[in-house]
Amino acid sequence: MDNITTDPQESNGLSRRSALKGVGAMLGVAAFAKAIAPLTEWTQNISAEEFVQKHYKELTPIDLEIILHRLEKDTRDQYGADVTIKDYKPQEGVKFGYALNLSVCNGCRKCAEACHIENNHDRPSNQSYIRVFEMSKGSMDMEKGNVHYDHPVPQPDKFYMPVQCQQCERPPCVDVCPVEATWKEPDGIVVVDYNWCIGCRYCEAACPYHARRFNWTKPQISAIEINPIQSYLSNRIRPQGVVEKCHFCLHRTRNGRLPACLEACPTGARVFGNLLDPNSDVRQVLAHKRVFVLKEELGLKPQFFYFFDV
């Protein structure tokens, strides 16, 4: 309990004390600078243009052109791959829907693998937008399902249920996003602006289908494995620290092609098409099969349908 006013050498004591304090403050500042030094290494990878980039919907065509070129250059610099990044717009009169035949799905997980390759997912984590559940016949209880099965498929007493983004009509992930980094496009696809997402992961908490993935690290993928046909809102290599999700392969489907998971399916379980076209395959399924959606009681109106043949 030393009270400085009782110090006999008051002025000396004070100056010594202020000097000590100055040294202490300097040491503190130096230690703080050292402690947060990793941040400077990190900011070297973020250009000023990237930092001030506006939201996707506020970009002019010229802005977008410049950004796409920058992203191509970044991919070349960071991954050593020459890629083409475009921005494909939704088409008039199109609303995509997906249907999946649980009677024929055999659980081979070729869809998950195709997604992994098509969408330039992180290789070490074997990331994919699709999870395939092995379910016991006689029960729709997902608690009894298993995604980590490791045996020949199909097992006689099982059926298989792949789950990916259900592209809800009322997507809760979009509602909760505080910065509008994710939204539903006119053709029904819920997309993410990877350059706007702040990585709060509220959408991951809100999604009842486990459709969203967070980039816990910078995706690792070798140049030779990179799919060079990319687009801004879909399969370009995502930055670290942002959320991503299934986008129905919009870089393919907006150009008249089918999603990679459908093309990879050996059983023909997957049916994709335009819900607004009465003659589309997916509309035929909706018209003639007994169709259900996952967790219908939540009222989110998924645009992804399941059905059984028999």
């Binding site: 608690e143 399902g145 809760p172 702040i198 009842p208 289908y209």
Partner: protein
């Protein structure tokens, strides 16, 4: 901005004098005895460890945490939730003092308001540490970014938390500045704000509960009882902290004050801790009596699920601590035996911290929405960041309290009010 313009202007205008006052007060507050310096050095060291851990996390990615796509919020958001409660609970002592004109409470209202400020700053820091892209923080600023208001509850939280911070900064700043000038505070410059802060305190914890309970995807959170439970537990943890803080402060400055307020706070806790326990029991009843897969999170939390039981020790520790605290508080001897009261406060504080964190945030994610069980225990890096933020919060609180003490000491009003106070401790300098 806090300077009133309607009162008689002093020699220098308030807008210049007020920052000068803050600066002088800050400089004075870093004077202290060796206990103070050891305490601050200790906190600085922990803070630096946390700052370094955060910088590494931002650079290398959040895979350094033990979070996953299954448990996508964890220790940071758990602390955030608890601290919002602590901030709300901080003004619990404001309510009796203003509503019931408890004059003795009036004097130490600042202890609670300053706690609210420190707790909100910590809460905001935990959110920033939880962001994958803190560099894009500006996207959240209304006008600059794209603010998804009013649909996203997170934008409501941004508004109410920052608003609460500003309100409390204004109240504390204004009251201290007036003291410093030796003037009687003008009621119209702070009383409306005090009442606003009471309402606002309830809103911050309600909105934070709405973040969770509005999600249909997570049955464990999807209960209307969540917001009332949050508030009730906040009104346990807030007073618990303040009771201990008052005792530390009066020990440090060698002045006996606050027995009346402590008694009031204990009486508040006696009620709120019981209501909180009642709410826990009623939730547990609904979960377990109903059964079914919607209640598997509660099963996982309390008894484990399919052999996974990482949270079981946490929640039972929490239950044991809260029940013990309740028993101690209800004992009439709690007022005469300070060890009993302090033990009850510490147990209640930690018990609620677990309940809001490992007992509320984590089981929302386990089992996952597709009923997979992926467990979570915090990584070393997460503990470091958490410790760093708490250390900084305690530093802020320590300095803020010292500023308040110094202002009260040196105020021209102090000489007559504290005439009987001769034992000036080290903080008086």
């Amino acid at each position: 901005m806090n300077a009133p313009t309607t009162t008689v202007p002093p020699a220098t205008p308030h807008w210049r004098n007020y920052p000068r006052f803050l600066w002088t007060a800050l400089l004075e507050s870093v004077e202290g005895n060796w206990v103070f310096y050891v305490w601050m050095t200790f906190l600085t060291a922990i803070f630096l460890v946390g700052a370094n851990a955060w910088a590494v996390q931002v650079r290398d990615g959040m895979h350094l945490t033990n979070m996953s796509d299954h448990v996508s919020w964890a220790l940071y958001i758990a602390n955030f939730t608890f601290l919002v409660g602590l901030a709300a609970g901080g003004v619990m002592m404001v309510i009796p003092s203003y509503l019931y004109h408890d004059e003795e409470m009036h004097d130490i209202v600042l202890i609670g308001e300053l706690l609210a400020i420190a707790a909100i700053i910590m809460a905001l820091m935990f959110v920033v540490c939880d962001l994958g892209r803190p560099d894009r923080f500006w996207h959240l600023i209304p006008g600059l970014g794209r603010f998804n208001f009013p649909v996203s509850m997170l934008t409501w939280d941004v508004i109410v938390l920052n608003g609460y911070l500003l309100i409390n900064l204004h109240i504390c700043g204004y009251l201290l500045y007036m003291r410093y000038l030796g003037r009687k505070p003008n009621r119209k410059w702070y009383v409306p704000f005090v009442f606003l802060s009471i309402l606002w305190a309830i809103s911050i914890h309600t909105v934070t509960a709405f973040l969770y309970c509005g999600l249909g995807s997570r049955p464990f959170w999807n209960t209307a009882l969540l917001a009332p439970r949050f508030l009730t537990s906040a009104f346990v943890s807030g007073p618990a902290f303040i009771i201990v803080a008052i005792q530390v402060i009066r020990h440090a400055i060698g002045r006996k004050f606050g027995n009346g307020p402590i008694r009031t706070l204990v009486n508040i806790m006696r009620v709120t801790i019981l209501i909180n326990l009642l709410m826990v029991v009623s939730e547990v009843f609904v979960e377990f009596y109903t059964g079914g897969t919607h209640t598997s999170a509660a099963h996982y939390l309390y008894f484990g699920l399919h052999g996974h039981n990482a949270l079981v020790p946490w929640i039972w520790s929490s239950v044991a601590m809260t029940v013990t605290a309740a028993i101690l508080l209800l004992n009439p001897k709690v007022f005469s035996r300070s060890w009993m009261m302090n033990l009850a406060c510490v147990l209640a504080f930690i018990g609620i911290w677990i309940e809001k964190g490992m007992g509320m945030v984590i089981p929302g994610f386990v089992p996952s929405v597709l009923h997979e069980v992926v467990e979570y225990t915090p990584s070393l890096l997460e503990w470091k960041i958490m410790a760093g933020i708490w250390a900084l919060g305690l530093m802020i609180y320590t300095l803020a309290i010292k500023i308040a003490i110094n202002v009260f000491r040196n105020s021209p009003l102090a000489t007559k009010e504290n005439a009987n106070q001769t034992n000036s401790g080290p903080l008086a300098s």
